[in-house]
Symmetry: D3
Subunit: 246 residues, 6 copies
């Protein structure tokens, strides 16, 4: 049995529910999924600024789940918001859905392209790829120019616009594999796979699988380097109650 | 239920059994593991030359397992021998235990070191890391200078020598995570983890987990690029019966 | 005249004062410096976790200074905490003292080494170097293993320990230039320069110079890509009053 | 006098003859060329799978030629099939026609493009470029989408299709030098050179020159690292007679 | 007060004057600018060959200015002609206008494109970007195909052609910042900034600011590595009087 | 028959003669070698500054040899002084002995180390390796700290000091191949090869072989990109007579 904690780093509860549903479809039978969203923060994450305000509330959820005995954590924003800080906060493994998708995609083809929401997210994603070392496996990061929350609101338009970008990626980028670059696109993966006859990787499913795998193998986050637990320290003001203790 | 085919690319059947056992320990309950080794080829793989003679026999096993309905294949040599060719041969996903270990290790720490058997394998492994893009995450590849088959023969010596290299890796390389660089080291991972208090990743377990994950998600190898199925063609002489047909 | 806003992203006001003093020494006569620290957040930043809790309070200070007409902003933590988010929040240029030091050091020598406080900060700094592209110019990031706040508390010990690392950097790393890797080391730069006869770059001075230069040239942060201003959006709970408006 | 052994790794004898002829045209007068093809293996090499089945038979030819006193070996497939294994098998230098062409092209211009046969070979070639470090010098790898053996069958069509790709490479890729990416294109190099007024490098000629140069200088393959001779070991089944002895 | 020596490495005095004027506009009030051009060398620098003949005369000017007490030197050719040699010759800091522009641009946006004069200069600039490590921050180097000296002769045509390239850079390259790639374009920066609403960095202004900053901070070129002063040595013939003495 | 022009870019005629002798030993019988040194410039090249003053005189020799019908040019300084400018000046191929040695070494082993004269030359050589893309193949550049001209003066000391560095390279760098990093070390290559049992590549021999190969194949420098012939232009003062004409 694996207790998987999925945190949606934005505060939109309906999106948390959709993510949890997608994760449950992807998970093995013995995986028990709890899904949370922060108590405070942005309703969606589009670019660096929203990301910065999403992290503290998300770290609070990671710490709570850690205390409740989670075997693994999954950060369900494609930007892998706050991933390094979350690894410092947890001893269980922590996976971001962006990195999960990149890793799995690089096992399925020679080169993948990513289709995300707004072009302002492209530098966030490209920066992550460089950090992970997987930029060499990515042909291009593309944007369909639909805001995160509109994916839920108008799914037909979303399917059309994302499909058009996938088509261009296969023709122009030399990609043989597609990564869907937003948690809100999870439901579309299978459809596109059938349509385009290439693997289409959704980060929520990929991350559910990877986090489960790490937990099942008993692997934990290393505390010997940059992910060491934060030292005891006073945090002031709004954050006083989040001060790390040892 | 996932039917996982593990191929040990060398012809040493006792090693196949040990690998299968390690994989079964690591696998979820619904994973059915079949383990094979080639009918022809080298008794162990140490360096580029042995590797080249291991691949054809291994590809035959991949093709047989594919016809028997395997949901995923795992190549159980840390050199990821013949991985690209195997991906061309299969529609199910194919994972190498080397890449599996690198990918998982890069999710657990900032930077990992690898401890393999003979130093002649170091360039093979370093070359793979560059190909995968994960060289940026690897601090150093080390050798304990024990031949592959001696790991089984003298496990106490193996433990001592590998342990000494892990110690150096943590002190000198700035690594916060260790990858064991040979299928024959699978049984030692847990012990080292306890001893050194850092994650120690064994490729057999890592690969079993990753291959299962891909299969469970229904993800398959892309046939749209470099891993397209081989075209129909005459292979002559010893290899006549392995000629690809369409 | 240039109005330079320096934000110390930790909440330790005495450190803000020391930084402001160092910056005033380094600045041209027509530079008017205002120095702030966040109203809420960690007392010092050591590693990823503290960094994440430092950013929101710091972004609030950036926004306030922007409204007060700052011509440039300087983030006075060597980790360049929240730099990308700050660039999204500002139209004036934003510089981090880490990147400032890296850029100037790369103009003075062939290869620099960095001496920072705790080794847990090494991955943060190395990650930044990769993002900026300047990892190729950096020989090594070293830690003197003194916590940030102890630099003020015991300056003699600090000088000894940092000096020992500089000596090793020049002998072992092939560095011909040194970067001091913490805002709290600003006062030591000149002494080390005299002692070791190589350029020793302090980020506070470097950042003051660079931010002033950008402001003087009328250069501003690009709003055409990843640093576009955040879209109007509801932030909830603790962060409600920080919701971006357009 | 230099005794150069050229091995065509596919089993098509007419192609061996054409390669030998091209090599003899390119060679200095004192170079004695022997050309072989494997006794068993694929009739042409298109992608990873064919490549894997071509190597063992080719290594047998390398070993035979080594015993006959070859001063250098040239692998005449643009994929540099089995190059690392061949270097382990030989003490004389071993060159692949792909790497030979890349190295010479990088001495003649700022940046080269490659025109190969089928697009399924692009990842093989790109992978090699990364391994050699010469990806930085390559603008793009292009495919004319003609199978290897059709180059001989319809040379007029080949010339037209390859010429069209060269034209695009010069216009779109910023290349100032062209590499022909298949042993079967050797005869076309001069024609294209005249037509496009840029250097057009054919791997067979380039490899003949480079292998001769190494032999003439008395340079041999290093046995101190990854190319050490294979250790004595039992190969079983079909490969029994190829077991390495010491 | 900062005494800034600007050397125009070509011998066209009218260009020196225009550069000095642009620098004075950009400089702080306490910066005293002296501008020189070599006594011997090419009238403009277009490509590697002109560059090689420009350096000795420029180094003579650097040495003279050094003796006259310059606090910093600026090389006012976008190719950063002779930059490494100039650093060896000086103890004051030396900046090239190309590198200055790259460094400042990388502080203002995510990714910049360069617009230079002739396409033959593209490899010079690309080579510099790689050396500096900033190629990762550059989307593309473009040429407007106008010779250096025609920028002065027909400014309207220059503005039109350069503007067209900027437009393409923003649309096609994903750049959010523009670098003008020739000292002769200095006067156009502000206009383009207004027109395209992205930062447009001119190297003369950038270099004036950066060189002043280094001088003000008392930072000097490292003499501990590759920029050590040249050893005493006989230079013969035309160069006899330039022999380095100690 | 190949007419090879070797230019020693320093003005020490005895070194030119030693280089010519080494080249003649390495060359095929039909290679006619002419060796020159510049009429003006430094007596030896140690670092960036000497290099800059060596280039114009060397380019004059390249141009003269070009007019005399040279089939290829070899620049006999390990720094590859003025290589790009020389390629612009010539239509015959131009090779530097540094790059020649790097390219051949990368064909013989997995990873090479370089042993040069003074440590001030290390950044010059490392910079070249990055430009060529071959830094990935180089384990380390080492200096034996003997000035160029002392190699001739005290060959026994030279042999001892260089030998010690080779020994360290093999033990500490993981190199399996050695490159001798100065034209003045040519005579020592064979001795070290015998002593250390790894390939030891001398640039003069390597360059003679490579330049001959290019000439024999009729390959010429591309004029379609950065190596286009210099445009007609007035060079003034000392350099007036070297003005390029069309």
């Amino acid at each position: 049995m694996v207790r998987l904690h999925i945190v949606n780093p934005n505060t939109t509860a309906s999106m948390t529910q959709a993510i949890a549903e997608a994760a449950r479809k992807a998970a093995a039978q013995d995986v028990i999924i709890t899904a949370t969203e922060p108590e405070f923060g942005p309703a969606s994450i589009e670019g660096f600024y929203d990301g910065a305000f999403a992290v503290p509330g998300m770290l609070v959820r990671i710490a709570e789940a850690e205390r409740s005995g989670a075997d693994a954590h999954l950060i369900a924003c494609f930007d892998d918001t706050g991933l390094d800080a979350a690894r410092s906060a947890a001893s269980a493994p922590v996976i971001g859905i962006g990195e999960a998708a990149f890793h799995l995609a690089s096992l399925l083809g020679v080169r993948f392209s990513v289709v995300t929401t707004l072009s302002r997210s492209i530098p966030v994603i490209e920066g992550n790829l460089v950090r992970y070392g997987l930029d060499r496996r990515c042909a291009r990061v593309r944007a369909c120019e639909l805001p995160v929350l509109s994916l839920e609101a108008d799914p037909a338009a979303a399917e059309r616009r994302i499909g058009a970008e996938i088509e261009s990626a296969l023709k122009e980028d030399g990609a043989d594999c597609i990564v869907l670059g937003c948690a809100g696109m999870a439901a579309l993966a299978e459809r596109f796979w059938t349509q385009f006859e290439v693997p289409v990787v959704d980060g929520v499913a990929a991350g559910t699988g990877l986090a489960t795998t790490l937990a099942r193998l008993g692997l934990k986050t290393s505390k010997a380097g940059g992910y060491a637990a934060p030292g005891a320290k006073a945090y002031s003001g709004l954050f006083e109650r989040f001060s790390p203790k040892r």
